[in-house]
Every structure is written in C-alpha cells, then in structure tokens.
Subunit: 205 residues, 2 copies
C-alpha cells in the first residue's frame, strides 16, 4: 500500500463507506457485503471492493466484511480515530447551525472555537461557545494548534480569512463561502456550496 | 456535442466555472482566459479549456473567452437560465439557514416552500415562508410541480421523506441528512455532509 498513489476520488468515497458502516454498526450487525453496502449508498459492489482492496485484504469471498474491523481501519486511514479541533469562522446562519451541529461527535471532529468580525456578536454565545473576534484569530488558532477550520464568511471576506488561517497553521479548510480561495499546496480545501450542487443536477433535468 | 456522453465529473466543474465567471462579470470585466480562471479556482488552464471545448468553440487562441457569452452558454447548459422552485424539508438549524439564504437568487433557484413535521413549527414563519406540515408535502409539491428539493431532516427520516418527494415528482434532491438515500435512476441526488468533506481532508494530514 502506498497512500500517495491512491487517487483522490477513491479517498473521497471512503468517508461515505465509513458513514454507512457506522450506521450498520449501531444496529448491532457485525458483517456486511459489498452488495449490501452498495445498495445502501448507491455505488456498485465491484467499485466498493476495488476501492477497499487498495488498503489491504478486508473481506473473504463468501463471508463478507467484518464491520468493526473495517470501521476501525477506515477511521485509521482517514485519521479520524482521533478528535480534530475545528474552528468556525463566521457566525451567520450557517456558522450558527454548524456551531450547534451534533453530527461531528464520533466522526473525528469537535468544534472548539468560533469567530466573527461583528462587534455585536463578539462576546456573545453560540451553543456552548463564546464568539471571539477575528482580530485574535491568528493568535488563538496558532496557540491551540488547530489544523481544521470551517469558513462561513461572506464571499468578499473569504480570501482574507483564508490567508490568516494558513498563516495560523491550518491545513484543512471547509469553505462554505460561495467563492474559490487560493491557498498553498500544503493546505487542503473542500467546498460546500448548495447552488453548485443544485446546478450539477439541473443539467440532467 | 452529445450531452449524454459528457462525463459527470466535467458537469460537476461547470457550476464552479460559472460561479467564477459571474464573479468576474460583476466587476465589469468582459474577457478572461483559461489561465486567469484557473488561478481563481485552482484548476489547470488545460483542464478548463478541455472541459469547455466539450460544448463548442468559446474562445480564440490569444483573445480568451467572452465572459457574457460563456456565462450565458453555461447558464443554458446547466439549465439555470430559468428559475427553479425549491422545496426545503426540515426546518432545523440548517433548513432554517437555507430558507433565509440569499445566495440562490441569480443562480437559478428560489426557495418556494418549506416543510417540517413538528407541530410546533407548522404554521410558524421562517424568513418569508409559512412552514407547512410534511403531511401535505406530497400534495403541495405535486400541485406546484416542484422538481427540486433540499432535504434537511434527521438521518432517520431521510428515506421516508425521499420516497414521498419521488412520488410527488421531484427529480433532484440535495440531501443534507448524513445518510445515503435510495431513489430511482431518474432522480438525481447530491449530498452535503460537512463531516465527509472534513474526513476527505484529514486523510492527507
């Protein structure tokens, strides 16, 4: 196994496999097959087998996959067998929703800090977090060695905040601002923009 | 040009091109190059040229792309030169944020109906919308011929609501519930789950 050689498109499917396996696990099921998994997530069994085999031998013909074992391995591969602290920048509607979102736990992440540049919001609470000023973003994030950030600022502010996050040592940015941001190659960015997802579907309608 | 033959991965990049071009357009710029576009969005100029050339001749060597022309063509290709009514199902934090989101306008979509199954929410307002009961979802969506829905319900309710949406004639579902849903091949689904996006990045850290 050479992690560097595994295409990003395969890496992108692993969290979907993990999510489905964890849903099966909570029902108490101990084994599954690529067929069953495929039906759950709408990916072909052959594709699933091929993707998973990139990381070693996980299942035997006829007996299927051990769910606890595969969950453990996927969590390890995706590095979510630990808990990453996450900073949220921007407490508009979406930032607010994410700061209160209870879906991070058990999946490798916890919100640990929330920032906004609005003086009326700074010092207020969102969920259990005090909102910090973006003026102290660089210092705070550096100090707490936070590597993961969620950007929920307006498009016009996204690049400037991204630059600060990079300076502070952040290595992974989930960007909800509807604009592309430029970061060094060593920093990873994923985008969530509902409209691009919707447009990708209307093409087919 | 044969639309059926264009790989989905290319279609997925078109909304990103369109978004960048529209951002350039509002600044008053009239032409751009694949280089400039590529720097904005972090995709290689060669890839952009190749993708766009699938749909015809848009630029000339040396003169670049006409932004208004390319915007118009991409809007047409993605079928967002019209406005799609969107139903939101589930008025938790995320549904609430989306119902008030002002980023849909000019990009081909408008929220037109909002549903929840919570009797305490039904009849209340979110933004400008009265929250309808999911009990009348099928009837309302059918009646208004809504083809696009955003699913922001808990994972446990996602499949049941998806089934109703399909029955009501919805053809595109943007699913924020952290679970895969099964729909007929004629219905398109896109997923937004912040955790899968985060996990896709931590792999590389």
């Amino acid at each position: 196994m050479n992690a560097d050689k595994i295409p990003d498109i395969i890496i992108g499917r692993l969290p979907v496999y993990l999510r489905a396996l964890q849903r099966l696990a909570v029902t108490g099921v101990l084994t599954t097959s690529s067929q069953e998994l495929g039906e759950m997530i709408g990916i072909s069994a052959a594709q699933i087998r091929k993707d998973i085999s990139q990381f070693g031998e996980f299942g035997k013909q006829g007996t299927g996959y051990s769910i606890p074992f595969l969950v453990e391995r996927l969590r390890n591969i995706l590095k979510v067998d630990r808990v990453w602290d996450v900073a949220i920048i921007g407490v508009g509607d979406i930032g607010h929703a994410l700061a209160r979102y209870n879906g991070f736990s058990n999946r490798g992440f916890q919100v640990s800090m929330v920032f906004d540049n609005d003086a009326n919001k700074v010092g207020q609470k969102v969920g259990e977090f005090e909102i910090f000023s973006t003026a102290i973003l660089l210092e705070k994030i550096k100090q707490h060695k936070i590597k993961v950030a969620i950007l929920t600022v307006p498009a016009s502010a996204a690049q400037e905040i991204a630059d600060q996050l990079v300076k502070a040592g952040v290595k992974a940015i989930l960007n909800y601002a509807p604009v592309s941001i430029n970061v060094p190659d060593s920093v990873h960015v994923q985008y969530i923009d509902p409209v691009t997802h919707l447009q990708r579907m209307t093409y087919y309608l």
